[in-house]
């Protein structure tokens, strides 16, 4: 199994979720993160002082998939999250050794 972590722009979350469910992914987990990279944060002004904001809000999507689905999933995320602007984000793929569904105790691919 593979574990895919994607860092995407916040307003792309719904597109990514739909793309993934479209190819048969049944579950995923998301969280709010802040990204630092080529895309620079906007300057914020308070009381006439400028604050350079280094971090940009991003969404992290985590999804575990069968090996067979992995390439599809990466591609689906890439297309859904792409705006062709700097800061679109990254996709990281890891080897997943084991998965367990807490409710049933199922393990491996049937746990996903």
């Amino acid at each position: 199994m593979k574990f895919i972590v994607a860092i995407v722009k916040p307003h792309k979350l719904d597109d990514v979720r739909e793309a993934l469910t479209g190819i048969g992914v049944e579950g995923l987990t998301v969280s709010e993160v802040k990204g630092y990279g080529r895309q620079k944060g906007q300057t914020e002004i308070y009381r006439g002082a400028e604050y350079q904001v280094n971090f940009v809000p991003k969404i992290k999507v985590e999804v575990a998939v069968d090996d067979g689905l992995a390439d599809n999933a990466v591609e689906a995320i890439r297309q859904a999250a792409n705006t062709e602007k700097i800061g679109d984000g990254k996709i990281f793929v890891f080897e997943l050794q084991q998965a367990v569904r807490i409710r049933t105790g199922e393990t491996g691919e049937s746990a996903l």
Partner: protein
């Protein structure tokens, strides 16, 4: 006794207390890091509590008692614990108990204004001890000089609702205290942005509304003088906000909410001493002057002098209060829509008197604050340990956290 005046001052008292609790507390609370928000609220709240007792026990007497031979300088101790004041005692057209309460709300907000100078790094014990002594040695005497029949009143200083008494004393003491306390870790280049500008705006809105009690209440009557004071106060607040926003637009291409509300406070501080003597055009002028000048000084204090008067108490209140005290002499003239100066006094003459009042206020506040900080710091912890500053004062001082989500 006038029931109508009493009704309005009862209301005004509620409005001015509302300025501090929760108005000013929120205004300041939104501007700090999330880890210090409770400490700021607690500072304002605790000051309100202890100063209320101090006012009852001694300070009211110092400010408004009859000092006999020394009345030029202070009001004596005759009225401590409100001695001699009962349900039927009258002060002017209102009950004295009410006059005492109305003035108490001023005595509360003045040291609370200073909170903005020392947030995020001061020890809570110091806040309490300093505020108590400051009200007794700085605030109450100046009140007596200006409003209690002391030597500045005799000179004919105009200070309708507290430009010298409230804003200069607080602003100057804030500057002195900020310098003595030192800068926050990371100041000025790596500070964290205000954690909740919306909270600041709520507080600002409450300050605006409450200021009607502050300025129009200072008429101590429900009459045309109160109505006009409310009008010029409002106009100056609005103009101050617009002026500050335009300065931001010119400089940064964007007008921020925090900028707008800061300009509003600058406009309010500036009109305060003049609110009983100028007309609507004076309101426009003072708001404009307050917005532009306070904006400029705010930048200078931070960028040029690198003083961490953290929430700009001096630049907004000290400078605004002094500016308004001076401009009052000019815009009081009937030619500019004001109510006119005292028969026989020229604008230039009055300007001299006002300058005298400002200087006395500045010097007294600066010197006494310097001395009492030095003395108190011998007995009470002044600044928190660095790790407490990093962690935030909410946990370090009060054992609480502002926001719990997990």
């Amino acid at each position: 006794m006038s029931g109508a005046d009493t009704a309005w001052i009862l209301t005004s008292t509620a409005l001015v207390l509302f300025m501090t609790l929760p108005g000013l507390a929120l205004f300041y609370g939104g501007l700090v890091r999330a880890q210090n928000v409770l400490s700021v609220l607690m500072n304002c709240f605790a000051i309100a509590c202890v100063i209320s007792i101090v006012w009852l026990v001694l300070a009211y007497s110092i400010a408004f008692g009859d000092g006999g031979a020394g009345n030029q300088w202070w009001g004596g101790l005759g009225k401590w614990f409100l001695a001699g004041v009962d349900v039927d005692t009258v002060s002017g057209t209102i009950p004295e108990s009410l006059f005492f309460m109305f003035q108490m709300t001023f005595a509360i907000i003045t040291p609370a204004l200073i909170v903005g100078a020392y947030v995020e790094r001061i020890h809570f014990s110091f806040v309490i001890v300093f505020s108590v002594i400051w009200v007794l040695l700085v605030y109450a005497p100046v009140v007596h000089w200006v409003w209690g029949g002391g030597f500045l009143a005799d000179k004919g200083v105009i200070d309708f609702a507290g430009g010298i008494v409230v804003h200069i004393t607080a602003g100057v003491s804030a500057l002195v205290l900020a310098i003595m306390l030192g800068r926050r870790r990371g100041f000025p280049s790596e500070l964290q942005a205000p954690h909740n500008p919306g909270m600041t705006m709520i507080g600002a809105a409450m300050l605006w509304v409450g200021w009607f009690g502050f300025n129009a209440g200072s008429a101590l009557a429900a009459d045309g003088s109160a109505g006009m004071a409310m009008t010029v106060t409002h106009i100056s607040a609005a103009t101050g906000a617009i002026a500050w926003s335009v300065m931001e637009l010119i400089r940064y291409r964007k007008a921020s909410l925090i900028g707008a509300v800061t300009g509003m406070v600058a406009g309010l501080a500036t009109i305060t001493p003049a609110s009983g003597v100028v007309g609507p055009v004076g309101g426009l002028a003072l708001g404009l002057a307050g917005g532009v000048v306070c904006f400029t000084i705010t930048q200078m204090i931070k960028q040029k002098f690198k003083i961490d008067d953290s929430l700009d108490v001096f630049a907004v209140h000290g400078v605004g209060g002094a500016l308004g005290t001076m401009l009052a002499a000019i815009f009081a003239s009937t030619a500019l829509g004001g109510n006119g100066l005292t028969e026989g006094v020229t604008i230039v003459g009055q300007l001299g008197v006002q300058a005298y009042g400002v200087i006395v206020g500045v010097v007294w506040a600066a010197v006494i604050t310097f001395i009492i900080v030095k003395v108190i710091a011998m007995f009470v912890p002044f600044r928190v340990k660095e790790e407490d500053e990093v962690q935030g004062l909410d946990l370090a001082m009060h054992g609480e956290r502002g926001y719990h989500t997990l």
